[in-house]
Amino acid sequence: MNLWNKLMCYSRRHSPWLFHMNGGSCNGCDIELIASLTPRYDAEQLGVRLEGSPRHADILCITGPITHNAVNAIKTVYGQVLGPKAVVAIGSCPATTNVFIESRTLDGPLNRHIPVDVFVPGCPPRPDAIILGVAKAAEILAERGNKPPAESVMIPTVDENNVCATEAKEVRA
């Protein structure tokens, strides 16, 4: 690997720009995604920027159980994001359709339609889990480049090293 490729890999890992898309979500995960950019969690430390246009984005963040209406929009937006790109499914809904399973208005889960790189389960997941998922997606994206996506990664909901767990313990105590 020459110097330019190393620099490119490093830059990709340190500059994930997100595009947020709602696939029929109840807005719970959307609020948590925004919360991850607020002063308490401050995802901008990792270079994260929430972009207005899918053309600018590297990582597509999708929430919600994927309704029939959302499928075509999600496929279009996935096509509009230029490579190298990664997809993060935020919440339990895009992973399993959650409590809405077998609903006739749904066409989920998400990985039936587009390849998903990272699942961040939770209903809703905590902002630090979302940041962990985005950081993981940026790492995957940097290593993979323009190659087709391989298998997806699951962010654990309870992890001793994760801030979620320690903070939850503090709250309980």
């Binding site: 401050d42 270079g47 053309r55 600018h56």
Partner: protein
């Protein structure tokens, strides 16, 4: 011999200082200062020091959407024109004493400063995206509003001294009229650099990314760079007007950088402390409130000249 020497000086100014070799890292630095200052004002930690550089490299490695025809070629050309004109504007700044320059380079500088926003307007319209068109229309309205004040302010400084040469203007002693002009220019800078409270063309919550909506990859990297160079050129213009004359070149360069940095900090803090105004409020602000000062400045400049 003299011609060769002048050519060498001009090339050195364009390529080394205050041109590309100096301006590109400074552009990234100013972009970082802007983001960091906004983050600190909001109680966040903010992006790491190298962030704009990483963003630039990453964008260079991304793909661009397929474009065809004349509109596609134009869309590829706009960011390049914007970057080169902004770089040219930085190269014209009379930072070092006795660095050359010619009668009328102020007019060239103003034209080069204006070209990037012309390119943004054209880019939004040629992208064919509805958000791009709305953003371009806003940019056009904004540029008509603030440019009157901006040009009148600079004109008043130039007219009072009867010169259009930048280095002559930079060497003037400070007077109340000049400070009036500098304040008027400072009021116009947030609109020129698309900052709050005048960040209308790239109002993300309303029109996505405005004229930049359809841009991606290396082209977007060029837009980011041209935005950074605009920062350097616009703050540098004010810095050269404020700075007193120093015979030592390195003192002059240091003072220039320090003053530009202070102006960037000031503008970022104002941007973080304010919310976006509506387009009609913005236009009214420039045409009704600020224009009076600019007209006053020009009137007093002419008065001073006739009295002298």
């Amino acid at each position: 011999m003299n011609l060769i020497h002048e050519l060498q000086t001009a090339l050195a100014r364009l390529l080394i200082f205050p041109g590309l070799v100096f301006a590109v890292p400074t552009a990234w630095f100013f972009l970082w200062v802007e983001r960091k200052a906004v983050a600190r004002m909001q109680g966040r930690i903010g992006p790491p020091f190298m962030q704009p550089f990483f963003d630039f490299i990453k964008l260079l490695g991304k793909g661009t959407p397929a474009r065809s025809g004349a509109a596609g070629m134009l869309m590829r050309a706009w960011p390049l024109i914007a970057v080169s004109s902004a770089a040219g504007a930085v190269g014209l700044l009379p930072v070092l004493p006795a660095s050359g320059g010619f009668q009328g380079d102020l007019i060239l500088l103003l034209a080069l400063l204006e070209l990037p926003s012309m390119c943004i307007i054209a880019a939004g319209f040629s992208s064919g995206s509805i958000f791009g068109e709305i953003g371009s229309a806003r940019e056009a309205v904004l540029s008509v509003s603030y440019n009157i004040v901006f040009l009148l302010a600079i004109l008043s400084i130039a007219a009072s001294q009867h010169t259009f040469s930048l280095s002559a203007l930079a060497q003037l002693p400070s007077s109340p009229l000049r400070w009036l002009g500098i304040v008027a220019i400072l009021v116009c800078l947030p609109a020129k650099l698309h900052l709050n409270p005048f960040s209308l063309p790239n109002a993300e919550q309303e029109i996505y990314s405005g004229p930049m909506t359809e841009y991606a990859g290396p082209e977007l990297a060029m837009w980011e760079l041209s935005h950074g160079l605009e920062w350097v050129a616009a703050t540098g213009l004010v810095a050269t007007l404020i700075a007193p004359v120093f015979p030592l070149w390195w003192v002059a360069a240091l003072v220039f950088v320090a003053l530009s940095f202070a102006i960037v900090l000031l503008l970022s803090v104002v941007a973080a402390a304010t919310a976006r105004l509506q387009i009609d409020t913005t236009v009214r602000f420039y045409w009704q409130c600020t224009l009076i000062f600019a007209v006053l400045a020009v009137a007093s400049a002419l008065f001073m000249r006739f009295r002298a």
